[in-house]
Amino acid sequence: MSLDKEKIKHVAKLARISVDEAKVDSLTKDLNSIFKFIEQLNELNTDKVEPLTSILNQSLRSRKDEISDGKIREKILKNSPKKNEEFFVVPKVVE
C-alpha cells in the first residue's frame, strides 16, 4: 500500500490542517516510509487475539453527576484569542 498526494491532501482536510503545496512531496515520502515500517505488523497472525483496550485491569471510574466546579467563565475566556464579554468569537458561520 502506498499513500499518494491526493490521499494525503484528503487526510489533511479531515485533520483540518492546510498543507503547503511545496511540502506535499516530502510529506508523501516521509509518511510512506513510516507506513512501510508500520506494515511489519502484517507478518503477525492476530485472528484469535483480543484487542487491548485498557492497560489497567479495571473499568474506568465514573463520578456522581454533580456540579463540582462552576462560575469560572472569566477564567475560561481568559486565554481566548478573540472574545467578547460572554462568548468566544469566531469568523461568521451563517450568512
Binding site: F35, I38, I55, V90
Partner: protein, 485 residues
C-alpha cells in the same frame, strides 16, 4: 557553598534541614547557574522573582518535615502551572497561561518545593532529540554538538548542567529514560496510573506518564514519593495507599531473579552497548542476583504498534487546538474552516503535523481495522510477553538506548531512524510497566550510556532497590566540564 548546585537533592535537603544553607542562598545559586547557561537553551520561561519570594517565605518559617523542604525545581513545560505560561514546546500554545495547576506539580509544591522555571521539550513531547521544539533545540552539556535526548531534553540537560536539583518529565515512548541515558542521569517512568495525568498537556493518553529525573536513585525515590498518588480528576489514576519509597530503599538484592531478554540484542547494535549490558549483568550477579534468560518474542513489533497507537491518540487529543478557546489563532482565512486549517498549519510544527496525519489516517473510515485494531491486538501480545516473563523473574535488565547521544541534525531528515531510538523504551509504555534508566558507563567517545530496569506493574520499590544497589557498585560518576559558562 559555591558547589552546592552540583550535589544531589538528598545532600541538598540535608543541608537545608540542618540550616547549613538557606533556601534563598540555594535558589540564588541556581539562578546564577541558569543565567550563565543560556547557550544550552534549556528554559522556555523562568520564574525567578516568584522563586526568590517562596525561598524567603520558607526561610522565615521553615517546615523541615516535608519531602522537598525549601527546594527550587524547574519542570518540563508540559505541566500546566497556574498563572505561568505553559507552551508544550509549541507555537500554538505560545501565549497560553493556565488558570490551574497540574496535580503532579501541585503535589511537589505541597511537599515544600517551588517553581524555578519551565523547561524546553520536543513539541507536544513528540521527538527523541528536543529538535522539534518551537523554541529551538536544547544542547547536551556533555558536548556542544550533541542532542540531550527527548522529549524531556530541557529537563535532562538542565539537571546534568546543575540548573535544577531534580526535575520531572513525561514519558510516552521513552521521553524520560532516553534523555536520562544521554546525559548520565537517572530517569523513572512509573506504572501507568501511578502519577496523575491531570493538567499535563496530553499526547497519547493510554501511554503518557509523568516521572522523576534525578542525579541519584535516592533522589528518584524522594521525587516519586512526592509526585505520585491517587487523583479523582484522572479517571485512570490507581487508587492505592501511598508508598514511602525513599525510606524503604534497600541495597540487598540477594536472590532476586533478573531476566535478560534475548530480543534486546538487536542487529547493528554497537559493541559498546553489548559490553555495557554485560557489565550490568556482572554487577547484579556479584550482588547475589540470579540471571535468567528470557524471551519477549514480540519486541520488534513494539515500535510499529506504537506508531499507530500514539499518533491515533495524538490526532484525537490535538483536535482541541482550534484557535477558538485558547492558544494561537491565524489571521488568515475567509471562513471558520479556513481559520481552523490555517491556525493548525501555522501553529503546529512538521513532526506534530506528520503524527496528526498518521493518526487521522489510521482512524479514518475503512482503515481502522487494518491499523488501529491490529495495533491493539499486537499490544495485547506485547503485554502478554511481559506477563509471562514476570512469572519467572523479579525484574528485567536491558540497555536503555541503542546508542549514546547523537549529533544535532544527524537524524532530522529521516523520521524512522529517529523513531528507532526508542526501540528499548517503547515496549514498557505499551505494557504500562515501570522502568528505571540508570547511568552505567561511557562509550569510547566519552558519552554516557544507560541501562534499563523494567519492573512488574506497581513494583517501583523493587526496581529502585536494584538501582540503588547497582549505583553503589557501578562506580559511574558524571563529570561534566562547564564549557558554556
Amino acid at each position: 557553598m559555591s558547589n552546592i548546585t552540583n550535589q544531589s537533592l538528598s545532600e541538598i535537603l540535608e543541608k537545608i534541614k540542618s540550616k547549613k544553607i538557606s533556601s534563598l542562598e540555594l535558589t540564588q545559586a541556581y539562578i546564577k547557574n541558569i543565567e550563565n547557561a543560556k547557550k544550552l537553551n534549556t528554559f522556555v520561561t523562568t520564574t525567578f522573582d516568584q522563586a526568590l519570594e517562596n525561598a524567603k517565605k520558607f526561610d522565615n518559617k521553615p517546615n523541615n518535615e516535608q519531602l522537598l523542604s525549601g527546594i527550587p525545581l524547574a519542570v518540563k513545560d508540559l505541566f500546566c502551572t497556574e498563572n505561568v505560561k505553559t507552551t508544550a514546546g509549541s507555537n500554538i500554545l505560545n501565549n497560553f497561561i493556565p488558570s490551574y495547576e497540574s496535580t503532579v506539580t501541585k503535589n511537589l509544591w505541597t511537599n515544600g518545593a517551588f517553581l524555578l522555571g519551565k523547561l524546553n521539550c520536543d513539541e507536544f513531547a513528540m521527538g527523541s532529540s528536543n529538535e522539534t521544539s518551537f523554541f529551538g533545540n536544547v544542547i547536551n552539556p556533555i558536548g556542544d554538538h550533541l542532542v540531550p535526548g527527548g522529549s524531556s531534553g530541557g529537563s535532562s540537560s538542565a539537571l546534568a548542567a546543575d540548573l535544577t536539583p531534580a526535575t520531572i518529565g513525561t514519558d510516552t515512548g521513552g521521553s524520560i529514560r532516553q534523555p536520562a541515558s544521554f546525559t548520565g542521569t537517572v530517569g523513572l517512568k512509573p506504572t501507568y496510573g501511578l502519577c496523575s495525568r491531570w493538567g499535563i498537556v496530553a499526547f497519547a493518553s493510554s501511554l503518557d506518564q509523568a516521572g522523576p529525573m534525578t542525579k541519584t536513585v535516592t533522589d528518584c525515590a524522594i521525587m516519586l514519593e512526592a509526585m505520585s498518588g491517587f487523583d479523582e480528576k484522572d479517571s485512570t489514576s490507581i487508587n492505592k495507599k501511598k508508598e514511602t519509597y525513599s525510606k524503604n530503599l534497600k541495597d540487598n538484592i540477594k536472590g532476586l531473579k533478573i531476566g535478560i531478554p534475548k530480543e534486546y540484542r538487536v542487529d547493528n547494535m554497537p559493541k559498546e552497548i553489548d559490553e555495557l549490558w554485560e557489565k550490568g549483568k556482572k554487577i547484579l550477579k556479584d550482588l547475589g542476583a540470579q540471571l535468567i534468560d528470557i524471551s519477549l518474542p514480540h519486541t520488534k513489533y513494539a515500535l510499529p504498534t506504537y506508531y499507530i497507537v500514539a499518533p491515533a491518540e495524538a490526532s484525537s487529543n490535538l483536535a482541541r487546538y482550534d484557535g477558538v478557546r485558547y492558544g494561537y489563532r491565524s489571521q488568515k482565512g475567509k471562513d471558520l474552516i479556513e481559520m481552523y486549517e490555517n491556525t493548525r498549519s501555522e501553529g503546529f510544527g512538521d513532526e506534530v503535523k506528520r503524527r496528526i496525519l498518521i493518526g487521522t489516517y489510521v482512524l479514518s473510515s475503512g482503515y481502522y481495522d487494518a491499523f488501529y485494531l491490529k495495533a491493539q491486538k499486537v499490544r495485547q501480545l506485547i503485554k502478554k510477553d511481559f506477563d509471562d516473563s514476570f512469572i519467572k523473574v523479579d525484574a528485567i535488565l536491558t540497555p536503555s538506548t541503542p546508542s549514546s547521544a547523537f549529533k544535532i541534525g544527524e537524524k532530522t531528515n529521516d523520521p524512522v531512524s529517529m523513531y528507532l531510538n526508542d526501540i528499548f523504551t517503547v515496549p514498557v509504555n505499551l505494557a504500562g510497566l515501570p522502568a528505571l534508566s540508570l547511568p552505567a558507563g561511557l562509550d569510547k567517545k566519552g558519552y554516557p550510556l544507560g541501562l534499563q530496569l523494567i519492573g512488574k506493574a506497581l513494583d517501583e520499590q523493587k526496581i529502585l532497590n536494584i538501582g540503588y544497589a547497582f549505583e553503589k557498585n557501578c562506580g559511574y560518576k558524571n563529570e561534566i566540564k562547564k564549557w558554556w559558562s
